[in-house]
Symmetry: C2
Subunit: 437 residues, 2 copies
């Protein structure tokens, strides 16, 4: 555990070991008008990195200073792994407690400058968070075997649950970038076209979604310069293209999806909102929590999907809670873990680019719904209610099959270290009523 002179609760998602990147506006910033700027989270605080770079010339790596003054993380993302690592190390040195540092580097310049500390440290409860990056393209994969098996079983039976390609490549599709929103943004229940009710003469209808669902996902922001069109990223280079990870709720209108998705995949059923957590947790912060990935030996994938050093996933405990309007606190409905992913981030990058598709810094690659084995580990209400055939218990007599207006959905995730957590903070959104049809 790494100790800061800024007090951090042991249960906080954001100790000095984490130091995730985000873009925020201070609640009151008279000088700058509250324009979005880059920060890192530390306990209950946000460190204004742009102001820090300006206030302490030379304290942060020269290569990163211009990027740290931008209103999005894209320029920083483009710099690549060595610059990210050097900047994080310099920030940790500035924030580290000298008393507990051991042989780790310490830079007292911020600690010893009260005026700068006041200017640079904002209470996290006071700031407004923004999307961390301009997302050029958003891709959604389908990489949890339990999820794909559950959905396939519901719609095609247990013998045909997985499509023939599923074990050979990370199935994915292009998502909608414009409708990715930051945690806390209300989500309006969509109105959409749904299938005819029966076999008679009736046609489809336009109506408020009746089967509104969440999907528990994680997503990685692409970093580095990106690959030129036509030149794939090899599996052993893929980790260099990973800037950091967020949680994602891929809100889904199941009734709309069922009618529209053949043959080209989900479209309006998922493009009304996709919520991400605002703090981007670096792969360096997550590195201690890498574990061996589920085996892929029956069948083994093609060599372009097999890294020389073995496959790892992240041991991140994930949960989903729902708070109905009548409830004082959210009830946990899902407990899952990122380690259940069959396809890794690195495999997703290698496959995404295999035909030559270019990735750019700021692109977002999501895992798809992360379900584990067992009913409690299901990452969507579609699975928890088994296609609406059973009620999901929220306690106190409250149940759900799908989401109701006023429901707030909370996702959380953390890695448990020795006496500390590396966590993801809030990924939440409340369902508001549909527009009048």
């Amino acid at each position: 555990m790494d100790v800061s002179w800024v007090e951090v609760d042991p249960a906080s998602d954001f100790p000095l070991n984490n130091l995730p990147w985000g873009v925020f506006s201070p609640a009151a910033a008279p000088a700058s008008g509250g324009a979005p700027r880059i920060g890192v989270a530390l306990g209950d605080w946000v460190v204004d990195v742009a102001a820090l770079a300006a206030g302490l010339p030379g304290a942060l790596p020269d290569v990163a200073v211009a990027a740290l003054g931008a209103p999005t993380l894209n320029p920083l993302m483009a710099l690549g792994q060595p610059a990210w690592r050097a900047t994080r190390a310099a920030l940790q040195a500035l924030l580290r407690s000298r008393d507990a540092a051991g042989d780790k580097p310490v830079n007292d310049a911020l600690h010893d400058n009260a005026a700068l500390r006041d200017a640079v440290l904002h209470r996290r409860s006071d700031v407004t968070m923004h999307l961390p990056a301009t997302i050029g393209d958003y891709t959604d994969f389908y990489s949890s075997r339990a999820h794909a098996t559950n959905v396939g079983t519901m719609f095609r039976g247990p013998d045909n649950a997985l499509m023939p390609n599923w074990l050979h490549l990370p199935v994915g599709y292009h998502g909608r970038a414009s409708s990715v929103v930051v945690s806390g943004t209300p989500v309006r229940r969509p109105v959409g076209q749904v299938a005819p009710a029966g076999e008679g003469d009736g046609g489809p209808s336009l109506q408020p979604c009746r089967l509104l669902d969440f999907e528990l996902e994680a997503a990685v922001f692409v970093g580095g310069p990106g690959n030129p069109l036509g030149e794939p990223i090899a599996i052993d280079d893929a980790s260099d293209a990973l800037f950091g990870v967020v949680l994602m709720n891929d809100w889904s209108a199941r009734d709309v999806q069922k009618w529209e998705y053949v043959p080209l995949g989900p479209f309006t059923a998922k493009s009304f909102a996709t919520t991400i957590s605002p703090w981007v947790v670096s792969l360096d912060a997550l590195a201690p929590f890498r574990v061996t990935a589920p085996p892929q030996d029956d069948p083994s994938p093609l060599p372009y999907l097999v890294p020389a050093g073995g496959r790892t996933v992240l041991d991140v405990s994930l949960s989903v809670g729902i708070r109905g309007e009548s409830m004082a606190a959210p009830a946990t409905v899902t407990e899952s873990n990122m380690r259940h992913l069959y396809w890794t981030f690195e495999q997703q990058v290698a496959h995404h680019t295999v035909t030559g598709c270019n990735l750019r810094p700021g692109d977002l690659l999501a895992t798809g719904t992360i379900s584990g084995e067992g009913q409690r580990a299901r990452g969507s209400l579609l699975e928890l209610s088994w296609k609406g055939t059973k009620e999901v218990d929220l306690g106190g007599g409250v149940t759900r099959k799908f989401l109701r207006d006023g429901d707030e959905v909370f996702m959380g995730g953390y890695c448990q270290g020795d006496g500390y957590r590396v966590g993801f903070g809030d990924c939440r959104g409340v369902v508001t009523p549909a527009r009048k049809v």
Copy 2:
């Protein structure tokens, strides 16, 4: 016909009636370093609109001047219909011949200023064209009934050719924005994962695409301020969201597509390159060529897809030519027309946003392959060769089922006016060999 003092061949795609928008770099621009800037095409010339606005203060609408100095069309696209119309009218007045103007407005300021004319007019053969806009999201529809019927017949038989949803909504999916390239960009044959060859124990393989295809499409750039997330664009407001139209070749790896596309749609099979023509033809230039759309009465779509004033499509003759390495000139393989589209641009906008998805200026909405009735009107080699079962004749003993290395694919389109054409210019790309596997 509208006559300019700049000489324009009657067969040119770019008479004064057209004046399409593009982004170009002059071949030699010592002062500015050849940075991308906005222009309009006129005959064999490009008019440097940014230089014109700077050289003739007050000649172009004040509201547009800042946008016209940008390196992409996005700021101009965001201004909306009245600003586009006023700017186009001011440019036409500056370029119109006084002798043939009749009662149309004329502004002699450019015509009478030889130094400015020299600075502003570039030979089109000398300039480098760029993508006209930063494309936030690219969506591809599937709006030609003949195409959907052909493909459905090949894979599911004539009785199930159209999926149950096809006549009720414009089926579409999210495409990849990063791999949209401008006409002339070489297209490398992709290497991708394809299905096992037979029923035995063999798995899939990684190999150069063997069934490389073109798709003849058109695409519209979204303009106006865009809609807020959660607020659809009503069908009767949809035309305000249309900035202009380009041709598109949606290159497709059919063998990769067939294996990967279930259940979430095309992914790596189409994200290796998508070519568009560089000149964006305004809806005002195309307005005289609007014709009644194919009827939609069996079934009628839901009211949110039915405009008050009736549905129109554009009468644009389309063609595709292929030139193999041994050929002196391209052989025409397809003659189709944009009027064959069953779903209109306006219907696509209304459906795309119905669940609340936000469109932004610079988003690109493509039609899907535009096939007409009859074998000659098929917009892809998949259809022309009927899934590879027959040869497509290129003349001189040369035939194709799918594309070979060295083949250059040319797409063209024009509206025929009385003594003039409103055309789209080049949309072409040559196939280069695959990387070594």
